[in-house]
């Protein structure tokens, strides 16, 4: 029944087993005897379901998936055996019965709230709890061929919306109207509904239509451009700003398919591009093109940033690169997967050697206070000898 209603493929069993095997290796290195996974995205990564439950992974035994509510769904979604429970406290008794114990418990400290941490520490009666979130993020950094396939399908949704925008954006419309129409386009094409971003206060929309000064107001998120929003209570996304000729309209769209996110940006112009944006656009384009020539497995992400940055400095655009003033962000690319803020981060602040299967959004953007912004964002899959584009949407400036 579920099969006919949903379109997303289930995660293959061997894939889940391999992920758990890899986590166990990391647990062993860190001296963690049991791991407790409760965040829904991590649960999906290791067990193939987001249903309410808890996954306990002993370093030297089989994983135990405890399910609180929806056994029928979980039975369909996960290839693992699982144990239906009524309350979380039942888990302690079951672990005791099976003789499963550990002195050191690993948990996801970057997302698990203090109250839940304390409750689980009490349920499992383990005092020594340590953070395994970095280990999980490291595992999720390299995407499998199955994951890359999902990301490419997510890219099809993104590509569709980026192409459709040419028929929608018109002078005199508000950003909000364009957002509504293109948001619906993506959803009809199979967008999963929302996107996930890891951590407290990390909120995002599927679509950002920004234009002129609405592009240039920093947001509370660590992103170069997020828009003003139609209320300061949300403070991001489309605003009531009206689209004018010759000034770029930026469309930053996040596709979502079967949990996997893509994230690309294009610039659209009604009429002819105001001269002030011409050079920045060319530099953004040059950055994307030169990066595609040299970057591949083995290259340091830091070098990717620095080569881009030297083109920016040569063009005299440093003050506007990736924000301005306190709105500047310290990266030019961010990892994509089940969440939009994954590794790798392409930044001068630390080294990361690119490896086959990493996926990241690459977004040279220039912001001119009060005037507007321009840039390009494309998603890359790192390959042995190149960067592969995720979508087929051209990176050209689109004239309307």
């Amino acid at each position: 029944m579920l099969r006919n209603l949903s379109v997303g493929e289930l995660t293959p069993k061997e894939e889940l087993e391999k992920r758990i095997f890899n986590l166990k290796k990391k647990m062993e290195e860190k001296g963690v005897e049991l791991s407790l996974i409760i965040q829904n995205v991590d649960l999906f990564y290791f067990a193939g379901t987001v249903q309410k439950g808890a996954l306990i992974i002993p370093v030297d035994g089989e994983p135990l998936l405890f399910v609180e509510r929806n056994a029928d769904r979980v039975r369909y979604e996960t290839p693992f055996d699982f144990i239906p429970i009524k309350r979380e406290k039942d888990i302690r008794d079951i672990l005791n019965e099976r003789g499963i114990k550990g002195k050191t418990l690993g948990m996801e400290f970057d997302v698990v709230p203090v109250a839940l941490y304390e409750r689980w520490r009490d349920i499992l009666k383990i005092d020594n709890v340590i953070d395994i979130s970095n280990e999980i993020k490291d595992l999720r950094l390299i995407k499998s061929p199955f994951e890359v396939e999902q990301i490419k399908k997510s890219g099809e949704v993104t590509s569709h919306v980026l192409k459709k925008a040419k028929d929608v954006i018109r002078e005199g419309m508000t950003e909000l109207e364009i957002d509504a129409i293109l948001g619906a386009e993506g959803r009809k094409k199979g967008h999963q509904g929302f996107l996930r971003m890891r951590g407290l206060n990390q909120e995002m929309m599927n679509i950002y239509i920004t234009h002129e000064h609405s592009c240039t107001i920093p947001s509370s998120g660590d992103v170069p451009i997020a828009g003003v929003g139609i209320t300061h209570a949300i403070a991001q996304g489309a605003s009531m700003n009206i689209i004018k000729r010759n000034i770029p309209v930026l469309l930053d769209y996040g596709g979502g398919y079967n949990g996997y996110i893509t994230d690309e940006t294009r610039a659209y112009v009604i009429g002819s591009l105001d001269e002030m944006f011409r050079k920045p656009y060319e530099v953004a384009r040059e950055i994307v093109e030169t990066t595609m020539v040299f970057a591949r497995e083995g290259i340091n992400g830091k070098e990717v940033y620095e080569r881009a940055h030297s083109l920016v400095k040569k063009a005299g655009l440093d003050d506007h690169f990736m924000g301005h003033g306190r709105g500047k962000v310290g990266f030019i690319g961010h990892g994509l997967g089940l969440e939009i803020n994954e590794l790798p981060v392409i930044t001068p602040r630390h080294s990361i050697i690119l490896k086959e299967g990493m996926v990241f959004a690459f977004e040279p953007k220039f912001i001119f206070p009060g005037r507007g912004a321009i840039g390009i964002e494309v998603d890359f899959i790192v390959r042995k000898d190149c960067l592969e584009r995720v979508t087929d949407a051209p990176i050209d400036l689109v004239f309307i």
Copy 2:
């Protein structure tokens, strides 16, 4: 500039001051000398902005709002003075300079992740940290006239979408198509973009189109009906299910205006209602109508639930009320405000005396495994002598 781009009114200064005053009273009762507010919704509640920062409230002094990024936005949004900082660590120095200290720190344990809790404990050098999330939730329980006004505007968005649905829902469409069209309708009408739900793994969409068996599969959330979703990675919302005659289509829509949420459900039928849903619909309607007759300030929420429940039992529908089997939820209503899972919860599990200014969604629903579901959800404001409806959308079954 921001004023022209966004439509949401700023929170009045006296309102923010009153909220902080009330929190201080609770801090005093609990022996908390300093409170640290970092979750964006709580920050919005107490300081009027969601920009990245931290609000420190000494029990016996003026609040200090530290802002990390976006001073211009905060200056416009908050009536308070604030202190721009470069890094969170600067806060310690500033507190030291000003001689502000405390031995007991209050934090939002229900939402703040362990890693952030540890970082802040280290920054502020306070070992004794206690949970103030229940105190904050209690304060937010009673809505001020300003808040009720925002909720009513949010209700206008909801009302618009509920009415528009009659022109959109047609036989042969997928749930997903209806979702896309009505989602866009709400956004065009000024929906803020997304809705907030408090806590780990609490995710939600603005719109749920469910029909026939897609209504009847429990979700991972503590809600009676959430749909199947188009992927098990999201596992909620519209699916690829095709709309058929005579079976109810449920539209559960969450309006959002200036941060405030409304949440109503209507049933739509193409043709004539299948006989099996007739009585459940009438009982849902009777529950809403009788509740509106007796419930008001001073009535116990438990009584509201129990009176509804006795109508359900009399009609022999108990097995289907608010879910079936393990999918059953233990409430018939939930509080609304800046988050969709606020207090009060209308449940038999604990007493809550209704008070003027409480706002809750009330949702008698009946689920028939594999067959479909029907019900009504309306939002109420508790008044001295009645319940006031938030929206003007009729509660009738809509025939198409």
